[in-house]
């Protein structure tokens, strides 16, 4: 039996207790190697430091920096029900690029917020990123409850503030747990210090995250990745991004709209597949010349209108700001690639406060968010991110560098953004 495995990204303001929580989880789930704890205790004593749980992770990290081989324990641990991969994201502002990379590979997010310090800038910025990446499973941990005398009132106060911010982003936390990472309250074991709290521990709350099923119920979208010639047969290779592709079906390859019947669906050693589902990489034998990379196969009766102008929200990732008169950008979505430009910057937002900034000069700085009108040279096939994520998310390149990540909020250039898509 393969146990289920779920990856989550751990985010939060620096010093709110991420390392301590990881150390605590590893320790309390017995995921630390034998002897490791003693070794760490010894090292702490030698340095004249008191042993804290965060020190476990510091110690492992330091080993990592030195390039010393270490076990898998620091990123993998198991509860009674499944395996977890922790994607640890540094809390400093300059690491936002790594945080986004990590979060884009996660299935869920854990946001840690100190009940002592309260909601801070990176708490909000990370929440914004979680929202933008479409991670809708969010566990909020209110940490350092021991520093506020396990006060229910303080917990409610910080929770109210964070809930209010999250609500503006449309995030409803899956669960909210008051913990003390350093003392272990409500992490893996229920705390006796907070009798007023009767919800799950952090570990049981993690077990409540769902595995995200592939997008099989959505409309079929099959972006062409490449074309191969195998034993005299032309195979159109790609991954089914959403929906189900069936043998015998006629696909329209957009833009252009050429209709081609699927004669055969192949994987190596299984030639005659009846169908392929979202997430599967296959090769298609079609009854005509293979379409080129970037074309998107859609059901003949449900093909979207390709577009050159659309609305999007982008997160600027480059230390070099976006300047309207500095060259072209490249738009990449699934396997589509097109030169593009930002035709209008409608709103410029500080991702750490959600405040609107002056958008007059059309510039965007690192970590800023822009609500923009994008214009590609040739039409592209898109979906609203809220309908089909796989064709509603993209990156922008300047030269060879990825400078922004973005989501499509409206596939038409002129429509008013729907209510839930704007931040109020």
């Amino acid at each position: 039996m393969q146990p289920e495995s779920l990856s989550f990204v751990l985010v939060g303001h620096v010093d709110h207790g991420k390392s301590t929580l990881i150390g605590r989880l590893l320790h309390d789930t017995n995921s630390l190697p034998d002897g490791k704890m003693e070794e760490i205790q010894e090292a702490a004593r030698a340095e004249g430091r008191e042993l804290e749980f965060g020190y476990i992770v510091d110690h492992l990290r330091e080993e990592r920096e030195r390039g010393v081989t270490i076990d898998t324990a620091q990123t993998f641990f198991s509860s009674d029900t499944r395996d977890y991969v922790i994607i640890d994201a540094p809390g400093h502002k300059q690491f936002i690029k790594n945080m986004i990379t990590g979060a884009s590979q996660a299935e869920a997010a854990v946001l840690i917020c100190s009940a002592a310090e309260g909601v801070q800038e990176q708490t909000r910025r990370h929440a914004y990123v979680i929202h933008m990446l479409g991670l809708d499973q969010v566990l909020v941990l209110y940490n350092k409850m021991d520093m506020v005398d396990y006060s229910e009132e303080r917990f409610r106060e910080v929770r109210r503030e964070l809930r209010e911010f999250l609500a503006r982003l449309g995030i409803r936390p899956t669960l909210e747990v008051p913990i003390s990472a350093s003392r272990g309250d409500n992490v893996a074991t229920r705390s006796l210090n907070m009798p007023w709290y009767d919800g799950p521990t952090a570990l049981t709350a993690l077990d409540k995250f769902r595995k995200i099923p592939p997008a099989t119920e959505k409309a079929l979208r099959f972006p062409v990745q490449d074309v191969y010639h195998v034993d005299g047969v032309e195979l159109t290779a790609g991954r089914v991004e959403s929906g189900i592709l069936r043998k015998g079906q006629t696909l329209r390859f957009m833009p252009g709209g050429r209709a081609l019947a699927v004669k055969e669906i192949r994987q190596y050693l299984s030639e005659g597949l009846p169908q392929a589902e979202a997430g599967e990489c296959v090769g298609l034998a079609l009854d005509g010349d293979a379409p080129r990379r970037g074309r998107v196969g859609c059901p003949a009766d449900d093909a979207p209108q390709p577009t050159r102008r659309f609305q999007a929200t982008i997160f600027w990732l480059s230390p070099l700001p976006f300047e309207p008169d500095r060259g072209e950008l490249t738009f990449k979505c699934a396997t589509q690639e097109e030169p593009c430009r930002i035709a209008a910057l409608r709103r410029r937002i500080d991702s750490g406060t959600l405040e609107s900034l002056d958008a007059e000069d059309g510039r965007l700085m690192e970590t800023e968010v822009g609500e923009v009108l994008l214009e590609t040279d040739e039409p592209v096939v898109l979906e609203s991110f809220y309908d089909v994520q796989e064709l509603g998310r993209f990156v922008l390149l300047r030269g060879h560098d990825v400078v922004a990540g973005g989501i499509v909020t409206h596939t038409a250039g002129d429509a008013a953004p729907a209510h839930h898509e704007t931040i109020s």
Binding site: E4, P33, T69
Partner: protein, 265 residues
């Protein structure tokens, strides 16, 4: 979709992306379980024919079983094999007496020369994120600069299967299609696919090899696992602690770090 199928599809997508982006590409194949899994995934990605060369770095000190297995696979899968060997250093008597120098000459330099000779822009490698601490920082597409070095503090962001195909100055890109696999996933996949591996992985007389390389520098570990099933059971039941207990010793780890700084994989 089950876990292994999910891992497999993600890897195949990355392999196909890299082949689409680079004309001059090759896979690095040590004949170990990970890179053999990588070659198998390439077979699957391209419907039974790997369309680029596979590079075997030959120190000339490998186990005979490895050479045998290599030739067996090349024949069976019709692979385009390139053997990278630093004959000059070997002729000058380089050997495993000094591990660091020996690895640098016979692995790193041999690979550098091979990349230069064939002009490879990209190399596929079968490394996993759980293997080494520092590898937790790797990206799927990871640029190496002219000195072969890796600036991991300042890597390009990697979002939604959009991989930066090239930066401007580096010599080549390393592509890591197996980054998200764990050791136990590899063995379960080997079992599911019925893949063959070098027999040295299986216990004989209470010992087996967990990783393969030069005869002089590989030590077997105590184990009774004589089949793939038994190896999986061994990994599953042994606590993480036992697994970690088999990690390289401190001195070795230091060597690894140095090697990495010098551009070894």
């Amino acid at each position: 979709m089950d876990h292994l199928t999910e891992l497999e599809n993600k890897s195949i997508y990355i392999i196909r992306e890299s082949y689409n982006q680079f004309d001059k590409i090759a896979a690095l194949w040590s004949v170990g379980k990970d890179s053999t899994t990588l070659i198998w995934l390439c077979m699957k990605a391209f419907f039974g024919q790997v369309p680029f060369p596979v590079v075997y770095i030959d120190t000339s000190f490998h186990f005979q079983e490895m050479y045998d297995f290599r030739d067996y696979c090349v024949d069976r899968w019709d692979l385009d094999l390139i053997v990278a060997r630093n004959d000059q250093a070997l002729a000058a008597g380089m050997g495993p007496e000094n591990k660091l120098e020996c690895c640098t000459a016979l692995k790193t330099q041999a690979l550098k020369d091979c990349i230069a000779q064939y002009g490879f822009e990209a190399l596929l490698l079968g490394i996993r994120r759980d293997e080494h601490g520092i590898r937790a920082k790797e990206r799927y597409f990871s640029p190496r600069d002219q000195k072969f070095q890796w600036d991991y503090e300042n890597q390009p962001p990697e979002l939604w299967d959009q991989y930066s195909a090239r930066a401007d100055e580096e010599t080549h890109i390393r592509v890591h299609p197996l980054l998200h696999w764990r050791e136990v996933d590899i063995w379960r996949y080997i079992q599911r696919e019925g893949l063959e591996v070098v027999p040295l992985y299986f216990a004989a007389d209470g010992m087996r090899y967990r990783s393969l390389g030069c005869q002089s520098c590989c030590a077997p570990v105590a184990s009774e696992a004589a089949t793939v099933d038994e190896i999986i059971a061994e990994i599953e039941t042994s606590s993480i602690a036992e697994r970690a207990g088999r990690a390289q010793d401190k001195e070795d780890a230091y060597t690894m770090q140095k090697l990495r700084a010098l551009g070894y994989m």
